[in-house]
């Protein structure tokens, strides 16, 4: 039996990682916070200003343990991949799965199911605090999503799964505006619009999705998956299809953040620019507010049901990428998607 290896994430600015015999030693502000045997670690991921000694880097390269550098905002910067543990094997497993219609459909179904479930949770959660009419409409949409979920369970063809995903998205965005509580006439969208977004809520969503997409891509590269070979999303040159796949389960969490920003009036009318032709974008001041809120959201801990652990929300994409890699390698019978509370 194969022992599953852990990943060490270090995101404290100024942390110092060194090789000490066959262990990695993490020092923060001059005190040793952790000394872990290297044989238990499959990868080290560092965010921002974290220092690794040359000896540690060299040892990781020799052992085939990957070291991943991310910016403090979570953008992928680079990866050290050793010669032994072939990334190529994981990528080949990914490509083979992408060629296999049954496996592709199974992964896509897990992703879509989690997206719909998470969307439904959001509708119900917001609905609880809404006025009667909104509550009813949100509850109706939630019921529709529950119905789509039931049909999804029996779906085995990718086209059917994609169709149900589209149906769920229409039901969800059809009532999205009812979750907006302030300046609804001005802010509330009439369904989802993009390229370009045509109202303030859609502009906010588009920007947040871009942040999320960068994080998902970084997470995939971090575990050595090919971000362009997706399952739910079809292959297109230049399209990070797998990053788009990974985003799906996490979109409702971001939607919730967008609603909080609007409803708490942290994002207001002056944070947007209206362009001739009807496109709406966040301006510089607006982008700053959103980035700060997004970074704070990433630090919040959420319960991860598959792991039965609390993890920072910003690490969920990394956890999912690792779970997907384990599924593709055959270590897991099914890909366990992220289900929000």
């Amino acid at each position: 039996m194969r022992e599953l290896l852990n990943t060490l994430f270090v995101q404290t600015e100024g942390a110092y990682l060194s090789l000490d015999q066959d262990t990695v030693r993490v020092e923060i502000d001059g005190t040793v916070k952790l000394r872990a045997p290297l044989l238990n670690l499959g990868a080290i991921v560092v965010f921002g200003r974290v220092m690794l000694t040359p000896a540690l880097i060299a040892r990781c390269a020799v052992d085939g343990r990957s070291v991943v550098w991310m910016s403090s905002t979570g953008r992928f910067q680079g990866r050290l991949e050793g010669p032994v543990r072939g990334n190529v094997l994981l990528r080949r497993a990914q490509h083979l799965a992408a060629l296999d219609e049954t496996r592709t459909a199974r992964i896509a179904r897990q992703i879509v199911a989690a997206k719909i479930q998470n969307s439904r949770q959001l509708l119900l959660r917001v609905g609880r605090d809404s006025e009667a009419e909104d509550r009813n409409r949100l509850a109706m949409a939630a019921a529709e999503l529950a119905d789509i979920l039931a049909r999804l369970r029996a779906a085995t063809e990718l086209n059917v799964i994609r169709g149900l995903e589209g149906e769920a998205a229409r039901a969800y965005f059809g009532v999205f505006g009812r979750m907006v509580r302030v300046d609804r006439e001005e802010l509330a969208p009439d369904g989802r619009t993009r390229r370009p977004p045509r109202d303030r809520t859609n502009a906010l969503l588009s920007f947040l999705y871009a942040l999320l997409r960068g994080d998902c891509q970084g997470a995939l590269e971090g575990v050595g998956l090919d971000p362009q070979v997706g399952f739910l999303h079809s292959l297109r040159p230049g399209r990070p299809a797998l990053a788009l796949d990974l985003m799906e389960e996490l979109r409702p969490s971001v939607d919730r953040l967008a609603l909080a920003l609007i409803n708490r009036r942290q994002i207001r009318r002056e944070h947007f620019d209206l362009l001739p032709g009807g496109a709406v974008y966040l301006n510089e001041a607006g982008r700053k507010v959103v980035i700060v809120a997004y970074q704070e959201r990433k630090a919040e801990e959420v319960e991860h049901r598959a792991l039965k652990e609390k993890v920072a929300w910003g690490l969920v994409a990394h956890v999912q990428a690792r779970l997907l890699a384990r599924y593709l390698r055959g270590d897991l019978a099914e890909y366990p998607p992220y289900l929000a509370r």
Binding site: E3, L8, D22, T23, K33, P37, L39, V311, L315
Partner: protein, 96 residues
């Protein structure tokens, strides 16, 4: 598998103290120090064999004593602790 390693190394002589350092060093490389001479190790069968082999060569069998306990898994269901714990569970997500 999870192995608990405990040791007792005779340190009256300089040679004994050298053996103690060596044993501690080998254990550090394979697990987490949970108490002074007690290590919890998460190992594959092969790694466990290598650990025992290294330790066997480091000790003086006439003077020192080593014990290896196989721990019941999952550990969180079979382990209770009291007092100060400065240990990371190496199964947990390691985020610093």
């Amino acid at each position: 598998m999870e192995i608990l390693v405990t040791y007792d190394v005779a340190t009256e002589t300089a040679e004994g103290r050298r053996r103690l350092r060596k044993v501690a060093e080998i254990c550090q490389a394979h697990g987490q120090r949970v108490q002074k001479s007690v290590f919890e190790c998460i190992l594959s069968a092969a790694q466990y064999e290598r650990l025992k082999d290294k330790l066997a060569r480091a000790i003086d069998p006439a003077e020192d004593s080593l014990r290896f306990y196989r721990l019941a898994e999952p550990r969180e269901r079979h382990l209770e602790t009291m007092g100060r714990q400065i240990v990371y569970d190496l199964h947990d997500p390691l985020v610093l």
